[in-house]
Amino acid sequence: MRDTEKTYRFEDQRDTIYKVDPEHPETATLPLQRTEELLLNMGPQHPSTHGVLKVILELEGERLVKSTPVMGYLHRGVEKLAEEGTYHQFIPHTDRLDYVCAMYNNFAYCRAVEKLMNITVPERAEYLRTIVAEVQRIIGHQFWLGTQALDIGAMTVFFYTFRDREILLDWFDELCGARLTTSWYRIGGVERDLTPSLIAKLRAFLDYFPPKIDEYQVFLEKNRIWLARTKGVAVISAEDALSFGLSGPTLRGSGVGYDLRKYEAYAAYPKCAFNVPVGKNGDTYDRYWIRVMELYESVKIIKQCLDQMQEGPIMASVPSVTLPPKDRVFTNLDSMIQQFKLFSQGFDAPPGEIYCGTEAHKGELGFYIVSTGGGKPYRMKIRSPSFIHMGAFDHMSRGYMIADAVTIFGTYDIVMGECDR
């Protein structure tokens, strides 16, 4: 319900208010009413800015005139850290980018390095990667749904999504030893195979989960508060969305069916049948709808992967890049040397620059690596969707009520760890 520009013309009226006739200063009167924009700092210690985001809001009454995100409160110099260690050592650092969905960061980073090193990942590893990435997508969307509903005032959904998310986090714990900071992906494959117990647990979850998605929907789909707060809020047209570089559900909500899983067809995605839900209004509701639909699609993808997956190696065997099998390290000199070289100096990357984007649940997560040879990247740039999306915040929030500001951050699924890096 965005008002036309004519109704809300926010011109600076200060000049007219204070205008004094210089020849007759005695005629000057104080204006009865002075109007100017109110500057309001939101954050960085605000509970609903999803971290330490600060936004300077310019308010005209309750309407947002201009909003300036101030970033960097969570800046940890991750890109600089990458230049310090070997390629391998950076994987745990990627966990701390989007700390809600560490697996995706691992995945995107490993894919970028594999592209740089020109490594083909074995098939089983591709399936495993796809399964875990989609599990992570479910976790990400659940997290978004819960917090977005909470921001709008619907607390129940938060409890239910987090209950189900917990199952998957425990599954991660059993898979790799940590719930959030996973570091499970490796350059050339994955650290550990799925055990039968993990597969059984995952299958059980896949049967359990779709009805739960329906349940979440019951709370929101027809809820009139939800509808009022999401429909027609934070509208962005397809052209604007593209020119702001938005991606993921935020872009697809505006009707652009751009999904790297389809376009680049990496990992096991080309072998799975799935749909990419696309919205049409470009508002928060459409983005909500896409995310919920993607939950169903993820379940579909995981099921297909589990069915199609064959036995096989889970790590590529490129002796100069990938780690040797640990059992050989104890007894065989060649593997021991490989172990020592890779851990102490890293592998020798060819000079060059590569960019590799991966479709994370938030959008396109890309790693741009400049290598000048040697074991450490010369420069690494992380294209994080949260940061790119924050660029459109001013555009998307103009003219909305101040109470909507929080839901507009929310609609991007913003995580400051990734935004500030």
Binding site: R96, E166, D170, G177, S183, D193, F219, K222, F330, M336
Partner: protein, 195 residues
């Protein structure tokens, strides 16, 4: 929109039907057993693969596994490990870690040190309750690390098996790092891979 559909919509709006359907779900959950548990009275079951506190391991005969090769230090992405190696005074020409520190405040629990260790001297245990009022106690020294290793030896071994670092078979029970016999006449039979 047909008249029937419109009428239904108006009827539902008037009755706040969405609230009733949502309340139905909520009420259904009242009959569930709670899924939360009362920590610390109740404890989670921690999987074997869990990456908890690091501990140093010994061989079954009580010898320190660590030979002080510093590879964990090189592998650590947060630079929290410090190994000071030296010659073992009691066993001439053998290298060992005379001091071993892990700054657990810096540790990111990624498990790379364990993955790097060529003698499996390090393992992660299921221990996660080491919060303290004194930050200085979070610099784990060699003694503390061996203590953790001894207390949680089973967990540590399970971790290694779970992550495929070591396998639960005889060879891995036999395996140990052998200094060249030239250093000292070995008192134990040579390992299988040397015969």
């Amino acid at each position: 929109m047909s008249v029937v559909a419109l009428a239904k919509k108006v009827w539902e709006a008037a009755l706040f039907a969405e609230i009733w359907s949502a309340m139905k779900v909520t009420f259904k959950h009242m009959l569930h057993k709670p899924i939360t548990f009362q920590y610390p009275r109740e404890q989670r079951v921690i999987p074997d693969a869990h990456r908890g506190a690091l501990g140093l391991l010994r061989y079954d005969d009580g010898k320190e596994r660590c030979v002080g090769c510093d590879l964990c230090e090189a592998a650590c992405p947060s630079r929290c490990i410090k190994v000071i190696s030296a010659e073992d005074k009691s066993l001439p020409l053998q290298r060992y870690a005379s001091e071993f520190y892990i700054d657990i405040t810096k540790c990111v629990f990624c498990g790379y040190c364990v993955e790097a260790c060529p003698v499996n001297a390090l393992a992660m245990t299921k221990m996660y309750e080491f919060s303290t009022h004194d930050k200085r106690t979070l610099l784990f020294d060699k003694k503390r690390l061996y203590q953790i290793g001894e207390q949680h030896l089973e967990d540590g071994k399970k971790y290694l098996y779970a992550h495929g670092q070591e396998k639960n078979d005889q060879m891995y029970h036999d395996y140990r790092y052998f200094f060249p016999q030239s250093v000292k006449q070995s008192t134990q039979p040579p390992p299988k891979h040397l015969t």
